[in-house]
Symmetry: C2
Subunit: 567 residues, 2 copies
Amino acid sequence: MHDYFKEVESLAGKLPPGKLQFIPLGGIGEIGKNMAAVVHGNDIIMIDSGLAFPEEDMPGIDIVLPDVTYLLENRDRVRGIFLTHGHEDHIGALPYLLRHLNVPVYGARLTMGMVELKLTEHQLSLHPSSRALEPGEVVKAGSFSVELFRVNHSIPDACGLIIKNPVGTVVHTGDFKFDHTPVDGRVADFHRLAEIGKEGVLLLLADSTNAERPGYTPSERTVGKTFDRVMEGAEGRVIVASFASQVHRVRQVVEAAVRHHRRVAVVGRSMENVVQKAIELGYLDFPPGTWMDIEEIKKLPANQIVIVTTGSQGEPMSALTRMSTSDHRKVTIVAGDTVIISATAIPGNEKYVARTIDNLYRLGAHVVYGAASHIHVSGHACQEELKLMHNLVRPKFFVPVHGEYRHLVHHAQIARDVGMDPSHVLIGENGAVFEFTRESGAIVGTVPSGRVLVDGVGVGDVGNIVLRDRKQLANDGILIVVVGMDAQSGLLVSGPDIVSRGFVYVRESEALLDEARQRVKSALATLEGNNLSEWSSIKSAVRETLGRFLWEKTKRRPMILPIIMEV
Amino acid sequence: MHDYFKEVESLAGKLPPGKLQFIPLGGIGEIGKNMAAVVHGNDIIMIDSGLAFPEEDMPGIDIVLPDVTYLLENRDRVRGIFLTHGHEDHIGALPYLLRHLNVPVYGARLTMGMVELKLTEHQLSLHPSSRALEPGEVVKAGSFSVELFRVNHSIPDACGLIIKNPVGTVVHTGDFKFDHTPVDGRVADFHRLAEIGKEGVLLLLADSTNAERPGYTPSERTVGKTFDRVMEGAEGRVIVASFASQVHRVRQVVEAAVRHHRRVAVVGRSMENVVQKAIELGYLDFPPGTWMDIEEIKKLPANQIVIVTTGSQGEPMSALTRMSTSDHRKVTIVAGDTVIISATAIPGNEKYVARTIDNLYRLGAHVVYGAASHIHVSGHACQEELKLMHNLVRPKFFVPVHGEYRHLVHHAQIARDVGMDPSHVLIGENGAVFEFTRESGAIVGTVPSGRVLVDGVGVGDVGNIVLRDRKQLANDGILIVVVGMDAQSGLLVSGPDIVSRGFVYVRESEALLDEARQRVKSALATLEGNNLSEWSSIKSAVRETLGRFLWEKTKRRPMILPIIMEV
């Protein structure tokens, strides 16, 4: 595996007393790869270590990691990584980071369980001092003392962080919402927030994902009511697709299944893994007689079957997508099946989800999806909840985090609306160095930040040049022009031969390619007499001639690759 | 230009008396490339001739056309093309179709104006019998007589079709909604619909785009109120991005600008063309002193300027997108500007629109966008409007058109909800042959249908093989392996040389490529003594060896292209 972290000149030494820095390395101005550093004196603690999924302009890329150059330059100062919850965009970069920076990792119990699942996959183990924390428990990390406080989110054990240090208390909400009737009965810790707000908070860092949305996010429980309604009315099997990590959603499916005398089968590798782990840690319970092996579905009447599976985003290889195209080994969709898509499409996935729904309808299934059908609620706080958070914590300074730029702008406005001094609301981007004293806050500089692309086992070996080539290849294909030249005379002795891929149907375009060959031939003729030292000029002649000709004829710009062989 | 239409055996001869066929060639099970044929006896008339925009799995493709093989086989029977309105997905295929099938084209005045714009671009002219029709005017086309009736939509002069013939009346709604307070005062022709419904309608073909959405689509006028509100509050320039064809939207911008003492500049080629044409045909009016040349924006105070432009979908080359990245020659976004994105993102464009909004905020602009801000209304009927259409027309048979499969399913349910005999509601897909008598209706067969891809000037020369290659090239790149072999001895005399593009950074992966070279070399050694006739086996040896090696090392599957030169 490549070592993609280049060691460069140190960017930050010991911080003078009375100063505190917050340095986001990901998750600001984007959704995903959440990671940040908090710096005091000679100590650095990290908040989360997440990955992002590739954008449409990153063909072939599997995942995207934050650039952690800054941390590796200051590796001796990093005292630990504190995780807010177990989602990929908060823990997914750990397997890559820990190879280079093996420091203690802390998080709530299920969060650490998810980390364990992930590290086992990568055959890695945690630093021995790593451990699961109970909310309220305080961990010392250099001059920091850090405490988790419970919030609500779309995965159990989601927490925010209270980070005490000599300059002033920092509160990081993590991803959160306020659910007054949570499925596990564990409401966000309003009391601790009120208490800490009363003591005085220097800096609030809060989730901005839903800052555009007015009102409140409904309780997760409302989804359970929908499951009841659907199972009540369904004559056949009920198939529920959701995110594997949505343990509370799965729990509500199981509870509804029990009420409607159905048994539950779990399908899809990631769903099976998470469900197993959640059961093992006591976050999920299948009452006796509820669990069903997928092999048994043929033995039971359809109206006694519920299947929980993955694929709510229409991911090509997921279980539900395969079912929708009749490609799944275990489950065949038939008329009478009811499929619940218990999620909303993540931006960029809308078309995949729509295609899956269309295909399920083509197979005769009834499909329950979309906002109007109340089969999903967001895991993030809307505007009224954000206002409540601000009013509980009452920070001196505020930096909106976790959101694309427009979300940060809206969240900043909310902070001003609840009465914050506008000059104390700071919007920055990844890599910005936010520096605070007890009285002041400002962006004072930047550290390296950006995206590191993972393709297969390669980390960072695909960069802008490779991506640019991939895009050109994707749009117009490639032409390879092979010519044999005599080294001495510089005469063309064989070729030019042209091979193309992704450009045109060769069969239907022979005339075009023949003419292309002629153009190259005559271009080379004018160059004859060149010797080896000038092959570069031969190559550029081939590129120019062919490029101009093909643009004229086809209005396409395929990549042109001249290969000259000395014969 | 390629002739992509392959002449094959005729699929349909003269229809026996008493039979009528409806054959959709596009727009069913998809949004876009709307085109259909109605067949009676020896006569065929066409409804619309639209294009679609490429899906994310069609790299490099510019536009998508319906397969019109069926029409060309029956070219002598085609009596004319009737257009419902001037949107690309209803007229965009005309320039390609008319080259092969030059028949009369009919449509309302603005529709024909849009066609004219399009054909001029392509240096084509219409069949002499083509002409603009007034709603209510009847055109004879073989045994058909066709009449336009006014509906409301997001472009002026949108119409539906009443198609009379000996078997029974067919009503096609086109894209429609019911707007009781339209900007141009022209409400849909309820009276004609009621009248024709009373006379008796055999078949209704109706727009399904919004069949998922309950209630009514709001009136276009509601958007005008928002323009007033925003211009009222804006201290600087107001920039409105919308679709060029949204003439009523532009009209409301101009009207609001007049009320707030602002002048209006039009920016973006397509917007300029459509606005000119709309003014010329009397569908749009700039009162004296309202029109402003974009060059003048520096001379006027910011609070007296409105700019109407394109780019509401975040299209990379559009005016607004260029402004958002400070790449526009004429307009530089500054703090204090207010940008209104007066559209919703077409599925697949969400991320581009979001990026544009983020970039506008980064430049300090205030951005008005999204459902909550009421700066856009749909052009399509929601469920209550669809029910009204069904109850006015009271057809014997119904085929939902214009929508992805789930939209058709919802629309079919609506038809049953208003009381239609379920066996008279027929859902099909592109290419299905719907056949009707006065008493019966069924799908009786299929004709060729599908997508013809346009890339540059090439029409149909990019097919599945080329697309598959483009996708592989995009995901993992390509390796070209060049070897020189002695024709006689079959011995390797030069190479193997490996050139790669879109695979890895060559600089950082020299070791990998060196080892690859060695692997190929030894694989070839085992094959030595082969003669020319077995080069194929040499090529497959190279592919296998290298493929396996690279998968092991990188978990990537680049295209591998062995090139053997006889030396």
